[in-house]
Symmetry: C2
Subunit: 410 residues, 2 copies
Amino acid sequence: MTEAYVVGAGQSDFGTFPDESYRSLFATAFEAARDSVPKGMDTDDIDEAVVGTLGVGGRQLGLPGPAVTEHVGLEGVPCTRVENACAASGYAVRQGVQAIRSGMADVVLASGVEVMTDVSSEAVRYWLGVSGETEWERLSGTTFAGVYAQMASAHMAEYGTTKEHLSQVAVKNHANGAKNPHAQLRFECSLEDAMNAPTVADPLNLYHCCPTTDGAACVLLVSEDVVDEFTDTRIRVAGVGAASDAVGLFQRDTYTGVPASQRAASDAYDMAGVGPADLDFAEVHDCFAIAELMAYEDLGFCEPGEAGEFVASGATRPDGEIPVNTSGGLKSKGHPIGATGAGQVTEAFKQLSGEAGDRQLDGPRYGLTHNVGGSGGAAVVHVFEREEPRSSGGSSGRRPRDGEDGGESA
Amino acid sequence: MTEAYVVGAGQSDFGTFPDESYRSLFATAFEAARDSVPKGMDTDDIDEAVVGTLGVGGRQLGLPGPAVTEHVGLEGVPCTRVENACAASGYAVRQGVQAIRSGMADVVLASGVEVMTDVSSEAVRYWLGVSGETEWERLSGTTFAGVYAQMASAHMAEYGTTKEHLSQVAVKNHANGAKNPHAQLRFECSLEDAMNAPTVADPLNLYHCCPTTDGAACVLLVSEDVVDEFTDTRIRVAGVGAASDAVGLFQRDTYTGVPASQRAASDAYDMAGVGPADLDFAEVHDCFAIAELMAYEDLGFCEPGEAGEFVASGATRPDGEIPVNTSGGLKSKGHPIGATGAGQVTEAFKQLSGEAGDRQLDGPRYGLTHNVGGSGGAAVVHVFEREEPRSSGGSSGRRPRDGEDGGESA
């Protein structure tokens, strides 16, 4: 079984781009990814493509995959569109890993794209709504903000989580996003700003909700057989986990966590042979501030119920024990539905390559990405490992982490 | 690298079902597939699911995968929705094969579902239209029938293909579908009927076009490690090929063939180590009669330009050299967009298992399925092989075909 490696990743700016199309945004991300491959890559090297997109607004409902890949000169290669709502391109990356490991492809483009701002906010709400449970949630008037507000209320009631805790997620992520040249909301916010914003769905206010975003992101995965042709910095997909769940929140046993995330994380850690304590950073799915807090617990960064205190302690800031969302997260970087998962992997690639600019962490070796569809109907988790330089091939599992030569190659 | 095997497959009836939902149709197909596994299978045995659907009418735009798998008790397992227009579940099967070969799953449900008849025909035309090229085809008024009519006109002009040839496809497929209890249009038609039907898009008339259909189909794939737990009749996915192309017909170099089909077939044959002459039957994508004729040529059943004479010769009838669409094809069995590819594999499984009832061929060993998205923006081809019974494990490639013990195990 060959392992899969990330050798390149890039994204378009995330934001509102009335002069761009989903194809032009995709092309920008594709070129950024291709240009990021240390030893270079030709478009002709790519032998499979996976495209994650929801299709907000209904553009190109069918065949959006070939519609974007033909635009970047990838006509001919197998191209599959995958979708799991907001986790579309997290699953695209997972499918890319399966394609590599299956032996059916050596170089795979795993990607995502979404354009959301060219329709009215009512239309966006509709398109997102039809990614949630229909009969008992959407048709009774519940929005995604409303569903996550129910989770926030439950977390507050059960664990004493506060509005200040929610707001601290926003403060941290905006501080990070302000350093990300591709972020949509590139400004810091104060705790006061975040506490006093207008209510969206009580207890969530404007700073507890991610924006509506256009954007694309592309990740280049290769097999172990060819990885050395593209890079000397081997960034391995060490662990992959995914799980589904009932689409409707009301159908689940808990409102204070996302079981699909828990299961996906457990599987990813098992496959990678590492645990949360080994991680040097994580990009988690903070569509709403409560989602980031639940992620801390679901991914094992802290115990259930302790996420509020955990964010308050600074543990997830860039200088904390487990930096979370150095990219700015969905909150500040933006949340172009289908592009978000691949965008998270792009940040992980940059951090592990030492190419994260002003956001660069100090020589991280393990990073995690966590992408959720709907309110938890699907989740996918990846663990990435920057392998130590070595003289000969043959991938192994977990390496000793402390007290060894940590030579940087990026 | 483990091989992938089909151990079960089933479908709902295809047709117009105002009293069914996409979930109930899916459940019917799932139960049929599970019940078809010779040694039985529990829902808990399944560790991954792939769902192909276009979402005609816009129902459950996002997360349709988990929405149907939760309904059959598959909550929890990784579930991915894939889509490539009318090739959605052909690609779902391909993804299932990759999941197995990747070592990340031992038992995969690969499936498809569509409900099309609960919206107006104008709405169906819109939803299908947005699976084609938008700017230069749909917005200028071209429908899918119109695009295939252009192909038919070109084929007639270049090769002398006639309306009678097109009609013979309909006659054959209706004769086959009349024997299929799950088919939508279970009646025979005469050549006179097929010649004199009302025009849809000249030169294509009503009998040259498939119907609008509700339905679901499910395929159960397993790894070599576990195949013997489920069956003694090993039906191996011997070859897989897929290719994309420009979404718009006008962007391609030829109107008389589908380059993506040619490339997908070539790759599938290479992987399987067989050629078209080795096949005992094929299920091909006959959304329009011209599509079946082009498939004969693209898949290598006859030379380019000879498809008209080939169908006229009876070569593709059940008693011909290469029976095509014993199920009735899209024309008579029906074409529930996202379910069609998995439905084709269901027929292949039944034929190779000796469970095709009145349509059963005589001990077939190799079967092919061919599924096209749009007018050829995507295509996927599978070659299935019923392996000879043997005493010990260890899969091999192509086996000698003639002059050896051909003991039936089904």
